[in-house]
Amino acid sequence: MTTQHPRAVATRPRQLLTATAVAGSLLAVAACSGGSTGPSDSATDGASSSPYGFETVTQDPTSAITIWVDASREPAAEAFQKAYPDVPVKVETYDGGANGSGSFQTKVEAFNQAGSGWPDVVFSTQNNDAAWASQGTDPFAAPLDKGYFDQSWLDGFTPGALAPVTVDGTVYGLRNDLAPAVTWYDKSLMDQFGYTVPTTWEEYQALGEKVATEHPGYIVGDIGDPWAPEVYFWGAKAPMNTVTGVDQFSADATDPNTVAMAKVLDALVPSGAIAQESVFSPEFVQKYTGKVLMLPGPVWYSGALFENADSLNAAPGTIAAGLPLAWDGQDAATGNVGGGTWFVSRHSANLDAAKKFLEFVTSDARYQVDLAPGLPAYQSMGQQWLAKQAESKFFVDGFADDVTKAAGEVWDGWGYPKFSQEAVWAKTMTPEIAAGKTIESLLATWEKALKNEAQANGYKVS
């Protein structure tokens, strides 16, 4: 809504006519929509026109590249500027598209309409962005494995790491970090309470029920964030986000795994054993610092929550990253919570600088090992990062091994559609759960909302 401050108009009734006309025209402005000059010329993948496999604009090695990062990735850009002071860059921060805000896509669409203004390199927290950034009459993302990057360098990524950014066999982005969910727990509290760490969801539920009665106020999990479905339902192998091909979507809320996970959560949410605050909210830090017994969640909770003076600020040597949980008698699986991605614009006028930047932020130890808060997606960096974590002894109980194992257990039944299933969960489920409804009773609503969203985004829904 645009605030229209009433003007101090003269008080003679005659001028009311003018005022009415003003009002009328303001209403008219209300209706105007973004202008368009028609679709700009489409970028056909003319492999012949460029060694990179896409049509490039005229290159200018002296032009500054514009880099969009979220606040957490600013150190990456700063480290690059320190390492390569002669490469001209312009760093801009935005929200990283977090929680499915869609800001990356909506801004790019606006630039498409304007026909200029695109950033050269973009960091996104959403790993489903390749789904739209690679498509359309004027796709944004440059293909990266058609000559732009050396295949041998691309092969250095952890196997599977580039799957979310691969569309129709072409790689359109680079993963910044891997984000499998692990089962975080506080070893010192476990020992103190005399509990054993669960390995199955059934044991997890039993432990949560015990904690609710024996140690109320302590928590074994949290569902207050939009990625809760990725931690719990993806990890439970619940088929709620199935993408087949480029345009088929399905979600099944009646699948036994979906229902079983809803029941586990329903058993623990009302008693408070699973918290409903966002882990990034002041409430969460206030209420649960020192009281997080367990917390299934992504690997990046390490730096974001536990080893962070502004968050849970855990004591060194207390927190462990347990293996993902399994259903009794089945293999364990886990979900994936983001894991940032880097994209290069096809419209960049300085692709060399962009390439240098991307190689640095994904595979240079000066950022990925020294500064990065999460598990690097580039394999050699990942190993060094884990070795560094092991050395610091902040995390205990086989941290490096568990994280490595979890990274290989991400269930492949969930896809990466064009829309954010996180945002769908947040708007349809979070307020209802907060109002006291059971998750099981909301499953059908959730399925419907996902399917509606998929349909609006051009998927065929089954």
Partner: protein, 281 residues
């Protein structure tokens, strides 16, 4: 000479009002590849699963906000006008006006803190209503009221100043005559001031209607701050934005805008007629 005076306005009205409207109208009737599309865009927008809920949201917000704005602003302006002491009256008006000086988005950011029971200066009030967490405060049922309070807080001050000016335009002789006839403050307000303010109230209603149906900044900022618990498709303008920039469907977006225009114009016509805005003395 008079033409010179209106020329600036006419120019801007054409460039930023009339022409974009005509352009939107044209786009809403054509397909993405050009060519007449009939009512396809309207049907598509109408059938979108988010459309009717968004209509409901905006209607609820405008209803709550417009009524409270009209009633409270008029009431407050009358009270401020009745204050005898000049310095008190002008400082009260100034205080009312301050929030309006904050730009839209920044005032919403301020409200993020007010609405979160953990950090809110009025957390006792929130808790009294049973809201223990931010998510509970911004649950879908509360949003029309929440947005109305935010919009009132930012916009009402300016209107109070305008209404105060309008009250000043009532001739002193009329008020004096009323006093001599034995009318107290309440009777004067009901029988003299309110009828003479009628056009101003209609004017306020039209202006606010235009602003209110364009609800965008509040839900947009709250959506990001609440980690998407407040939907990104809450209002019609947000939906038009998503159509244009998330689905690359500019024609559908234009169709939503045109529908919004038609409804707003209809409601404005109602206020114009009822408020006698086009009557001449």
């Amino acid at each position: 000479m008079s033409y010179v005076f209106v020329s600036g306005y006419v120019l801007f009205a054409l460039a930023f009002g009339v022409l974009p409207t005509l352009y939107a109208l044209w786009m809403s009737l054509t397909g993405s590849q050009g060519g007449f599309a009939g009512l396809d865009n309207f049907v598509r927008a109408w059938q979108d699963f988010r459309f009717l809920p968004a209509v409901g949201h905006v209607a609820a917000f405008v209803g709550v906000w417009l009524v409270s704005l009209l009633v409270l602003v008029t009431l407050l302006a009358l009270i401020v006008h009745a204050i005898g002491r000049r310095w008190l009256s002008s400082s009260v008006r100034f205080v009312y006006y301050i929030p309006g000086a904050l730009a839209g988005a920044s005032s919403v950011v301020l409200w993020l803190f007010v609405l979160d029971p953990t950090v809110s200066p009025v957390s006792a009030v929130l808790r009294a209503f049973g809201f223990e967490t931010f998510v509970q405060t911004v649950s879908p049922g509360n949003l029309p009221v929440v947005f109305a309070i935010i919009a009132f807080w930012t916009g009402a001050g300016g209107w109070i100043v305008v209404m105060y000016g309008a009250l000043n335009s009532i001739p002193v002789e009329v008020l004096e005559a009323a006093r001599i006839d034995g009318a107290g403050a309440v009777r004067t307000a009901l029988h003299i001031q309110l009828p003479m303010l009628r056009k101003w109230i209609s004017y306020m209603a039209i202006m606010s209607l235009a602003a209110g149906t364009q609800l965008f900044v509040e839900p947009r900022v709250l959506s990001q701050a609440s980690h998407a618990v407040v939907p990104v498709d809450y209002s019609l303008n947000q939906l038009a934005y998503l159509f244009a920039f998330k689905q690359s469907d500019l024609n559908g977006s234009a169709a939503i805008a045109v529908m919004l225009l038609v409804v707003s114009l209809g409601l404005s016509a109602f206020f114009v007629v009822r408020g006698g805005l086009f009557e001449r003395d």
